[in-house]
Symmetry: C2
Subunit: 499 residues, 2 copies
């Protein structure tokens, strides 16, 4: 970024409206330039630890610096330490789409600078959130009991981790009839138990540790060959815990596991939850977005029996981080478990009972106007635009899957239900690791790994906004040629990637 | 915002670089226009509940809408439901400064769209955060043990609520030697106890409920005439709990209570914490920013004995929400209490032990590049700029305080240590409530209230970036003339404000 109006001797003041306009326009252009040229950068080239810090002075400046110099450091200091999650060759972890629309939504939210802790502290912040989350219930064909017009409702959380924690706390309180809220888990007398699969996200176990349930009372139920929770083992564990005098309280079913995108059988799990009065939480963080498309609505199976259901628009749906949607069937349980009412927050609107105060639906008190970016994305893309995005990525995954299937050197670890293709080299983990190293050393692509039933897996997560079929084909070419080379040659180890 | 290029018949596509540039420039200008004209708006005029939602269609659009129409709705739909926290007449709750610099930082963060959960997923995100939080240790003369070069370090949280929760969880685990992490609070056998003053923020009690400690095991220690925790009562409660067989574990001292900005005697509290091996957390959410100025460093008293210390740059320091800084003296305790290491997040950098992975310092896994806005603000303002801001607000508070003191109809409820002036009408709560209604009905100002030792208090929280001495003088004129009128007349109740 050019630092055209920099004058080293003049005194610099904080920005005013005029200098903000200039700097803001320049930054908007910088972002557009970055996105337009992102494909020319290596996806993930890591500096040495400490190299970024080494470029920054040891102490904060005594006198203000010109904004042009500060923004120029985005290129000189920041960019060498950036892994390009918005790159078309981003196939690692999960998509983390920061669309242009959502960038504008985030910008508008920062520009307004309001606090949405209470309805009365900026009604638009609350009402647009409630409204847009109702929109999503319809658009994703989720159960009507998640609508705000009934007993339930939706709320934005930062992440699925926080969503799981607040759901678990509400479950804990329902199970103890709010005795633990008052007297703590210590005075309750029985250990509560939470259940999830051994392929579930680490945040479920973390939530149980945070909430005082304890790691030893999280049962990680084994999965079948597809990665789905084995319901008969869940049932057996619940029975065993009851026999031991524990109190089974909470199940988190995963719709799209982090490792291989496996789908837990939510309907069957729900049956057990009903029989034993367990809170059913569904974590559909990445795959929930597929519910915009009718043909992929297996991701919402069983949702009508869920006490809470969450997904992350900040993953596959193109809303920038952070933005997780949590719906609950009965908001009263959640609110009671999380409510606070100090005198300094009392106000007529709250006391009228006619408004939602989202501070009581989350861990923090304060909250920013996150709904704006969701609203902007839904309106600018339209539902058909979002469906086209999902369908496009799934089609790319199917094509890659077919190529992997027809490559003798590779095996498909599981069928890809949606946009994540999981493969391994038939020659074993070492060959798979070499393949990962080749792909990540190439510069055009970045993939990540998991272990599934003991096997090292190369994951190709397809979902970046910029990714086209050609990018996936080029990745497929690289994968297949190197996989075959490894079979036909001595598989000389390529240079190790830095990760 | 003009919707000049809208064409109702054409098909609309998601934004591309070109349309993003145009819309982005327009939105930057809209924000600058909003801020330049904000003083002409009533600070807080609330719509009827549901009025904002009523302007939005029941269902999400099937087809994409032009961005110009979407941005135009900022004026037509959003603005009527906005309470203007950035208004120069904002004297309610606490300052929530969203400076131009921090808006640019938030914009850059959204534009980069990276995930900072691990060092390796975007090293700049981690290293700039670590570095800037070290900057703050020096700039605020905080203890060196909070520097990342020693055993401690800083981390950004969303809010002081989350900071309190993770500190409490780390305290819980230290107190139980990590037995509760494994077996839960239920199997520990003793109830743990947390202490804070009865003027502390509600988030402390909420954290104890979330963490399974229970509301009944939070001791809300009474305060003295200034609002500070009575240390002799803390000591007596700790002794009593020990005698009952409970395990005192955690104290949260408040530096600047929400109600009247009272300062707990941290040094004295620290003595008790050392004697009884209690974790000492300090919540300096709003007032911590004063530590930039040497003459206000009473706010960091006792910090060298704190296990954790937090403040919110998103309050008085002009960094937009959300941005809380939490420092810990021993990061190993925090990290052990919060760490997860699933296979899919394993990487060479983490295993080298040379990097910080901030996912293990917080509740969520994911995190955005929040440090950018803090870095931008520190550099553009410079330390002298931040000190001038703090000193300016304190001087305005002192002037208002002197006027209140010399007004026979008003009493100063406590001396103002910094930027919050707390007053009551000498005629009693009803007169104070009428005064609040007058101020909030005027349109130029917005104040909030609290109760202190049973008395209704009108709080004037001075700290918005746009506030000048003239705004505070005009508020003082209104307060004093109405307070006197209420004494000399029948105090006819003015029209009730909507809140």
């Amino acid at each position: 970024m050019p630092s055209h109006d920099e004058s080293p001797t003049s005194q610099h003041h904080p920005l005013n409206a005029e200098t903000f306009r200039r700097a803001g326009h320049a930054l908007i252009d910088w972002i557009a330039d970055y996105r337009e040229t992102i494909a020319s950068r290596p996806v993930a080239q890591l500096p040495h630890p400490g190299a970024i810090r080494a470029k920054i002075p040891t102490h904060a400046p005594e006198h203000g610096e010109p904004i042009t110099r500060i923004l120029a450091d985005l290129d000189t200091i920041v960019m060498p330490g950036i892994v390009h999650w918005q790159h078309p060759g981003w196939f690692a972890y999960f998509p983390a789409n920061s669309s242009y629309e959502s960038i504008l939504g985030e910008l508008a939210s920062a520009g307004l600078g309001v606090q949405g802790m209470l309805w009365s502290t900026s009604p638009a912040c609350t009402e647009i959130e409630t409204h847009v989350l109702d929109w999503l219930v319809h658009a994703m064909a989720l159960p009507e009991r998640f609508l705000s017009s009934g007993a339930g409702g939706g709320v934005l959380q930062d992440t699925a981790s926080s969503a799981a924690l607040v759901a678990l706390v509400a479950a804990r309180e329902r199970a103890s009839a709010f005795a633990t809220d008052a007297r703590g888990v210590g005075a309750f007398g029985r250990s509560m138990v939470a259940y999830t699969s051994d392929q579930a996200h680490s945040s479920i176990e973390k939530a149980a540790r945070l909430a005082g349930i304890g790691k030893d009372f999280v049962r990680l139920i084994p999965v079948d060959a597809t990665g789905a929770m084995r319901v008969e083992l869940l049932e057996a564990e619940v029975a065993r815990d009851r026999a031991l005098g524990h109190l089974p309280a909470f199940v988190s079913a995963t719709v799209g596991t982090t490792g291989v995108n496996a789908m837990d059988p939510v309907e069957d799990i729900a049956r057990i939850c009903r029989a034993h009065n367990l809170w059913l939480h569904v974590d559909a963080a990445m795959s929930g977005t597929a519910a915009f498309c009718e043909e992929f609505r297996f991701v919402t199976a069983g949702a009508s029996h869920a006490d809470s259901w969450c997904f992350n628009p900040h993953k596959w749906m193109p809303v920038n981080f952070d933005c997780d949607v949590l719906w609950v069937a009965d908001r009263a349980e959640l609110v009671r478990a999380l409510s606070v009412l100090p005198e300094y927050l009392r106000n007529a609107a709250t006391e009228s009972g006619k408004v939602i105060d989202y501070r009581d639906w989350q861990i923090p008190l304060g909250r920013r106007f996150r709904a704006l970016k969701l609203w902007f994305v839904l309106r600018s893309f339209g539902l058909e635009g979002l469906r086209a995005l999902v369908r496009g990525h799934v089609a790319m995954a199917r094509e890659l899957e077919a190529r992997v299937r027809s490559c003798d050197a590779l095996e498909l670890v599981v069928d890809a239900p949606l946009n994540l293709v999981c493969m391994a080299h038939r020659a074993g983990d070492e060959a798979t690791q070499r393949l990962i190293n080749v792909v990540n050393g190439d510069g055009r692509f970045f993939v990540s790994h998991c272990r599934f039933h003991g096997k090292l897996v190369l994951r190709v997560s397809i979902g970046a906004l910029a990714t086209t079929p050609e990018h996936v084909r080029a990745l497929g070419d690289l994968l297949i040629s190197n996989a075959n080379a490894c079979v036909s040659s001595s598989c000389a180890s390529p240079a190790e990637s830095t990760r």
